[in-house]
Amino acid sequence: MAQVEKTRHLLLVYPHPDDESFGKAGTVILFTRAGTPATLICGTLGELGRNMGNPPIANRETLPKIRRKELEQACEILGISDLRLLGLRDKTVEFEDPERVADRIEAVIREVKPSILMTYYPGLGVHPDHDAMSNAAVIAVKRLPKEERPVIWGSAVVHEPEKILGEPDFVIDVSSVLEEKLAAMKAHRSQFSGIFARVEEALAAGGQAREEALRLLGTERYWVYRIDD
């Protein structure tokens, strides 16, 4: 298990509200609690999310506004005080000019000078927006002189990423902030009511189901994306 210590600045680069929390909230909380300032670049407002709440609390047009509020609430829990919305549109990020998306990420990198950049591991994000955003982040980082580049912490969505990447570079034990992590995820209530019902069911069930749920929630894994040039 890797230890999380204060670092100069943490920059998160994701396309959707909830990406910053799902599978990563614990790490972010540990960093910000240690005194690390954090900035989140969020590409879209998840305009095309399918989940409208059950019963529906949103429609196609109100969903982005609701998700923005949810994102702001999650940021508060995560200790992210600086949120940058790019105003791109859900599912269309991969059709934008990657160099132009990279321009906007690069501007933020040059401004906040992050030591660590968290994003999806390029190519392993499953959702095309995830991979488009992480690709743009890599393009932006490549433009910097080597000594100024942040370390890229990539997370993988694909099943069994170790078969592709080997063991993760960082395995973070987030069990000490599990409650806060769940709160950040729950802030995205329009999206995760279904998932939470299952998680809470597992936690309440006890025994092996509970152990498994705690194990999955209690560790977060990252693979460093290395730029070779």
Binding site: R50, N51, E61, P64, L85, R89
Partner: protein, 111 residues
């Protein structure tokens, strides 16, 4: 719907089974199609079925069609939003009509 007959209107038409359909829910593949701000004019609008509903909009040259619609609302801007949700509240289909273009981003709408 009849209030839109004969006028130029902006159409949002969408169907989706979710970006994670194949990854998480074991379906053969993720499927989605949408058009946002297609400008159309139709001469006849009809609704059929009994929750879920079907809608057909007959144009001079062609049809607009949606199936599986379960809910509808007219928002404060007079825009018509029809949608079909599955039993977990997930959107599967949407057909929306407006006299003004649908915003491309919520940020734009605020500005």
């Amino acid at each position: 719907m009849n209030r839109f007959v004969g006028d130029d209107v902006y159409l949002h038409l969408e169907t989706t089974n979710g970006a994670y359909a194949a990854h998480r829910f074991g379906q053969p593949m993720a499927v989605c199609a949408y058009i946002r701000n297609g400008r159309v004019r139709f001469e006849r609008a009809a609704i059929a079925g009994n929750r879920p509903y079907r809608v057909g909009l007959k144009m001079e040259q062609g049809w607009i069609y949606a199936e599986g619609l379960t809910d509808y609302e007219v928002d404060e801007k007079g825009r018509l939003l029809l949608a079909g949700h599955d039993d977990e509240g997930r959107l599967a289909v949407a057909l929306q009509l407006s006299r003004t273009p649908w915003p491309m981003s919520a940020l734009e709408e605020e500005a």
